[in-house]
Symmetry: D3
Subunit: 117 residues, 6 copies
């Protein structure tokens, strides 16, 4: 599954660049706002990434969940904290969130295995 | 609008009690899990309420948003922090969140006006 | 709240008629399919109304929930059965369903009070 | 209902201003992108408002639907064209859209009655 | 596709166990409530599985749909009854449900082919 | 990825036929209404396909997006117009739409590469 993660990240980077190369101001600016949103403000990036993760889980978007799990790990969010975030997503969003939870935990295990090397 | 807030809280408490009086184990236990989820764990209740708020906003549920704004205020979340949470919800969830943002800010203004008395 | 229920039903009937008076074939036929769907087939109308109710709850549409609670009552679905339907909606859809559950139970109480007269 | 429409517009303008007065760059810029999106580009504003309307209907946001119905009328979208937009929303989004359709048509009737004066 | 079904079931079991092994009370209890919900109450498990299926379809979660189609078959729900459930999901949820319907029917055909062996 | 597009179209056609062969009147008629909706009315099929595309994007259904991108191309919608549609979907639906936007643009590139041959 290591290759699946790399594929996701390669496709994500390549297509984001492809989209930003298009001459469409609204889309370009939206991407700018998206980046700005997670920068330090009244809340620090760590908390903002946790917010982005729970929002992605209740809206049930696997790619968004993967992205924010990776960012949360970079910000030093622990596994126990991640499971607390997962619990809020599960209770607010219901059992329909469970398949996404399974995939999020599989990704987390993969990230932890990479780190352990 | 003070009365609207009181009405919301009175209806909420009364109907929750009405529902818990029914002999349905799954519903009772679900309410129990809901309460448990926001208690201190790896994350503190303050962070968990912020997570509950952003999840409610992207799922666009006014009553849930009202509830979590009130709880966030109780946990000492500042207005500037609340607007950071709102910004994440807006960018993740899109302009469809704006009507709920307007109502959340109106509620916040009302809560602040009550405090100022 | 009796008047609120009557208002809902009057507005619903009047606007449905208004919409069907418009010369738009796709909309007219969609309304026809909608009616057909709840008629007896391999499943009886009683079961189909229960399915319509749980679908409306997880999609969080108050008017649709009200309509299907009323239809379920007409089909003889008991209160205990309704709460079982509510429990499935709650667990599948999460705590975001709770505000709609409160309003559904308030409507149910109102319908039962009318019957008891 | 004329007053309901005015109330909606007054609350919308006042709260948007209130939100833009807050010192939160991500929210301010999001509002800027939102405005930019409906300006003339490869598609004209008339087509973009129609797109905004159908998107609001399938996401089932009454305030957004009201806003885009008003803007579509300003752009000269006819009633027959509006009902074609409604039909796409209905078929893509399902019967769960119907309560919003009823309210959209009630608003349209109100706008047409005002014009007829 | 037989292997796809086995893969789904193997991944589902393995990750559910992985998640339950984590020391997070809210998640553990949520899984408990989820199991409890489909047990016999005022409604029998057969009806509850049908409710779970229609809820999963309108929320458009392929894994949840697969799970409930399998459980419905175990409870003796016939193909004609399944298609009646699908019709309610389709009409309530709209054409956006169709891709999930196609995959649900493909799974059903696969399950029937296995039985026929 | 050429084969992925062909696979999608083959699976789509085959399963649609499989579903229409079933004796379920509501499903058959729903498919009929779905076809009718995109035929010329007050709006031409080109505009209707654009509406179908934006609705599919904000509801985040990849198969529906693929289908409508293909139909838009057949109706002569240009790439610049498609990106304007994408911008409306992005702003209304939020960053949660971005993964679907990436896949939509990848499909568009594939379709353009086929045409260029």
């Amino acid at each position: 599954m290591g290759s699946r993660l790399e594929e996701f990240q390669e496709f994500r980077s390549r297509m984001n660049q492809r989209i930003l190369d298009v001459d469409n101001r609204a889309i370009k600016r939206f991407f700018g706002v998206d980046t700005l949103t997670y920068e330090a403000g009244a809340l620090d990036p760590r908390t903002k990434e946790m917010l982005g993760l729970v929002a992605s889980m209740v809206l049930r978007c696997d790619d968004c969940i993967s992205y924010h799990v990776i960012e949360c790990k970079k910000e030093g969010v622990t596994d126990a904290e991640l499971f607390d975030i997962f619990s809020v997503a599960l209770v607010v969003g219901g059992s329909i969130v469970i398949p996404h939870l399974r995939r999020a935990v599989a990704l987390l295990d993969e990230l932890n295995a990479q780190e352990a090397k």
